[in-house]
Amino acid sequence: MTDLPQWADLLISFFLVLGSSFAFIGSLGLLRLPDFMARLHAPTKNTTLGVGSVIIASMLYFSVTDSLSLHELLIAIFLFLTAPISAHLLAKAGLHLELEMTENTRDLRKKPEQYSDKDH
């Protein structure tokens, strides 16, 4: 390893561990949550913080060892732009295919026909 100051060492490790833990929990969520729609919640949210922390660690590392490095922020920007959109499309597909949801899901739609492809 290079000669990182100790504070940087600790901080970078902290963010790396935090980030990988969240990425792991997000993947675990895919396994543990009961249905398709619930499973969607895990990767959209937890990967943002997971990747976010790893990005912070990378920015810190390269800023300390080399010169100020911020272009990792672009990854974060794109992630924030794309994660909700892919989640939205997956949820939409799930709805239209009428995938089964766990029995304690409450359907509070007042005008279900507004969200359906079928003509009523």
């Binding site: 997000g26 675990l28 919640h41 959209t44 490095s69 994660a83 939205h88 799930g94 005008k111 507004q114």
Partner: protein, 162 residues
């Protein structure tokens, strides 16, 4: 707005984007970035179907910061739900009546809903007047709707004045 810079915020965003991509701030790189930030909006202006004006830029920054904090909180929230053994979750499909209008504000609101605690926007109603939300764990659906309205939609309405 001037003809040379039809969308100043967009130009600024492009310039920052360019500088981040290059990862340096030198004279040449900045100059090229400035040229691109002027040319690209001019050239693609016609393709912009949904013109929107940012009326309250400072409020937009505040919105972004609130969102950032909420995303971090929501991560812990979801992590707790995932790790809790055999915790009964109460999912629900909720209808969210939209007050904001216009494609851009609705898109931002829908993305915000997906990124914040326990909710995902699943579908925009055919008439564009409401969003369908899937919530992972709610007891009181109306409270969730009110919270989103108070926290995000109210601010978006002010930012875009719609």
């Amino acid at each position: 707005m001037s003809k040379l810079i039809p969308a100043p915020w967009w130009s600024l965003f492009l310039l920052l984007f360019w500088l981040l991509l290059q990862n340096t701030v030198s004279f040449g790189v900045t100059l090229l970035g400035l040229i691109l930030a002027v040319i690209i909006p001019l050239y693609t202006m016609r393709a912009r179907e949904y013109p929107t004006t940012l009326h309250r830029p400072l409020l937009a920054v505040q919105y972004f910061l609130i969102l950032l904090v909420d995303i971090i909180l929501s991560n812990f929230n979801i992590a707790a739900i995932i790790l809790m053994p055999k915790k009964r979750i109460q999912p629900a499909l909720i209808e969210f009546p939209l007050d904001v209008t216009g494609s851009v504000p609705i898109t931002i609101l829908a993305s915000t809903i997906s990124l914040t605690p326990g909710t995902i926007s699943a579908e925009l109603a055919r008439d564009g007047r409401s969003l369908l939300i899937h919530a992972l764990n709610v007891q009181d659906a109306d409270a969730t709707v009110q919270q989103i309205k108070q926290r995000y939609e109210r601010r978006l309405k002010e930012i875009f004045q719609c």
